[in-house]
């Protein structure tokens, strides 16, 4: 039995954590206010609702799901851009989600974010050299010369010419800008990088450049990745294990090959079916039951199982009882009363 499986299903604020990164009973809610003069709170968006998972050192963990599932919020929580409403984030055995001040700033070096939109995430008024150097400046690391040398080295590592330091972002293509974003994420020599939609904004034939680069850098730098995307093909390609999210909940967790070969949750199956594959015969042979309906409101998610309003297997119990995550195989968990696979017998 691995530490990973235990941590995934047994919440406890008192236990330590031997995982490299552990997200434990994480909750994030965003208040929604209304009122022209006096703002009163009318509710909250339940972006992340009691999510737990761990990531091993050197692994790539993928978070996949559609709009409003909470994956981007989890990414931001991991790197410290948001504070949890409840629950903790553990890194190398310490709780990092409650750090403040100088300790918080120091911790930020280890967990970096690679942003989604290469067109919006680089300051158009800063030269590329300055952009990549900025984390070093903020963290007050190295002399100017040392910083410049580091920037040139990083540019080379991501396959860009060191002459790029004097150019502005608009002088680069989308794929090149994404490389700049990756270089910036590497500046502080992080241990873990959260990549939020690393290739979605790029043309299809450019995506593979970035995917290959990410894999290569992982090896050379001993990096751990958390990859966040709505694109299951990209996530499956990069990840060792995948977590499928729906409306703030983790509905299935499994190794990548397993998620595709033996999905247990009807939503995972729906997601897999919905992905158009570049294979005409397979596409036309697909017997599809599209996931019907629209995403419910995150202000007022459905009771019991949040997926029940769109699920082809729904029964009465789904509205009254929230299904717990149960094991279906080694490192394979899913939360469903009527899963597509047979759960492992209770120990």
């Amino acid at each position: 039995m691995t530490t990973t499986t235990v941590s995934d299903s047994t919440p406890s604020a008192v236990q330590g954590s031997d995982a490299f990164l552990e997200v434990r009973n994480l909750v994030k809610e965003f208040p929604v206010t209304a009122g022209a003069v006096m703002q009163r709170r009318i509710g909250s968006v339940k972006a992340v609702s009691d999510v737990s998972f761990s990531v091993a050192k050197g692994e790539t963990f993928g978070l996949v799901g559609e709009s409003g599932c909470g994956k981007t919020t989890i990414g931001r929580l991991i790197v410290g851009l948001e504070k949890p409403t409840a629950g903790e984030i553990w890194f190398e055995g310490r709780v990092i989600s409650k750090l403040k001040g100088a300790e918080y700033r120091r911790q930020r070096r280890d967990l970096q974010l690679m942003f989604q939109d290469p067109y919006a995430s680089l300051d158009p008024r800063m030269r590329v050299g300055t952009i990549i150097r900025e984390p070093l400046t903020v963290q007050k690391i190295g002399s100017r010369e040392e910083q410049d040398a580091r920037v040139r080295q990083l540019l080379r590592e991501v396959g860009l010419s060191p002459k790029s330091v004097d150019l502005y972002p608009h002088e680069f293509s989308g794929g090149q800008r994404q490389r700049i974003g990756l270089a910036r994420a590497l500046t502080l020599n992080p241990k873990l990088i959260v990549a939020d939609e690393p290739v979605s904004a790029l043309d299809v034939s450019i995506r593979s450049q970035i995917l290959n680069l990410m894999n290569g850098l992982q090896e050379s730098h001993g990096l751990t990745y958390v990859v966040i995307s709505h694109d299951l093909s990209v996530v499956k390609y990069l990840s060792d294990r995948i977590g499928v999210m729906y409306l703030g909940k983790m509905v299935e967790l499994a190794p990548s090959a397993e998620i595709y070969a033996r999905p247990a949750h009807p939503y995972t199956m729906g997601l897999i079916n919905a992905i158009p594959e570049p294979d005409p015969k397979r596409e036309r042979a697909k017997n599809l039951t599209p996931v019907v309906g629209e995403l419910p409101s995150a202000l007022n998610p459905p009771s019991g199982c949040r997926f029940r309003t769109r699920c082809p297997r729904v029964q009465d119990i789904c509205a009254t009882e929230e299904p717990p995550l149960r094991p279906f195989g080694p490192q394979h968990l899913a939360a469903c009363h009527f899963p597509l696979q047979t759960p492992l017998a209770a120990a």
């Binding site: 299809v204 593979s208 990069l238 158009p276 996931v291 629209e294």
Partner: protein
Amino acid sequence: MAPLLEVTNLKTYIRQRTSEVKAVDGVSFYIEAGETLGLVGESGCGKTMTGMSLMGLLPTGGYLAAGSIRLGDKELVGMSDKEMRHVRGNDVAMIFQDPMTSLNPTMQVGLQIAESVRIHRHASKSEALKRAEEVLGLVGMPRPKERLKDYPHQLSGGLRQRVMIAMALSCDPKLLIADEPTTALDVTIQLQILELLYELKQRLGMAVLLITHDMGVIAGRADRVNVMYAGKIVEAAPTIELFESMRHPYTEALLASIPRLNQDSNVVLYSIPGLPPDLSNPPAWCRFQPRCRYATERCREEEPQLTGETAEHQYACFNPVGKAGAHRVAVAS
């Protein structure tokens, strides 16, 4: 019988301050009534501009430099604005990628659909609203009568796209141009919309020009495919044949660079080096040559024309892939 749409040597150029971009540079294709033609390529290849040219919706500085667009028995090139306004909606309609930016945020959706009917059919407001309710039902909108008064921001992405499809269908066009109709949508909603388009196409006997960068969408929904690169069509074939016996190196490279769900994740994906050419100054030789792993001397001197063993499968390449004596289909898959 002549095809519903026949485009011959279309050239759409865009005049800019110091240069002229040859966005569509000599493109020819046809669509039969009731069929779905896929137009696939990446950003800047000219596929959207091709669709816009058919609708007469060119950007500032854009003009049709050459060519003919024959829709039914009408020649669209050279038509006056007034004549084009009659063609739009009634003969050809278009749906766009992002419904949030394509719908008027300050107008109720019912009125937006009705506007289309009033302009293209000279109907009264009440007749138009009745038709709006009818088409909203046709596109699977739950409780269409109530939705007429909604504003776009009150609807989800999928519902907004249904509104746009309703608008496009309100005047019974024979040809629907769908430009990246599902790219901005969640994948489960994407499937709903693609199924809807397929159903409507069957029911109404419409032809569809499906413009997309997504080879998966093309594989599942197009009868025939045209692959575009740098303003030109580089390969044209029936869908299954394109995927199974592609000839153009760009088509091959594109397919080899896509991660597949059913493929081993340890495979290194192919990536096409370099960038597409600057279309304000395109080369007089093969436009894919600098990025092509099979390029030879000839490719840097002459521009290959579309050719093929059959009329149905054409490609523009001197060293096509997969033919005996030419090249082995290399790479991961």
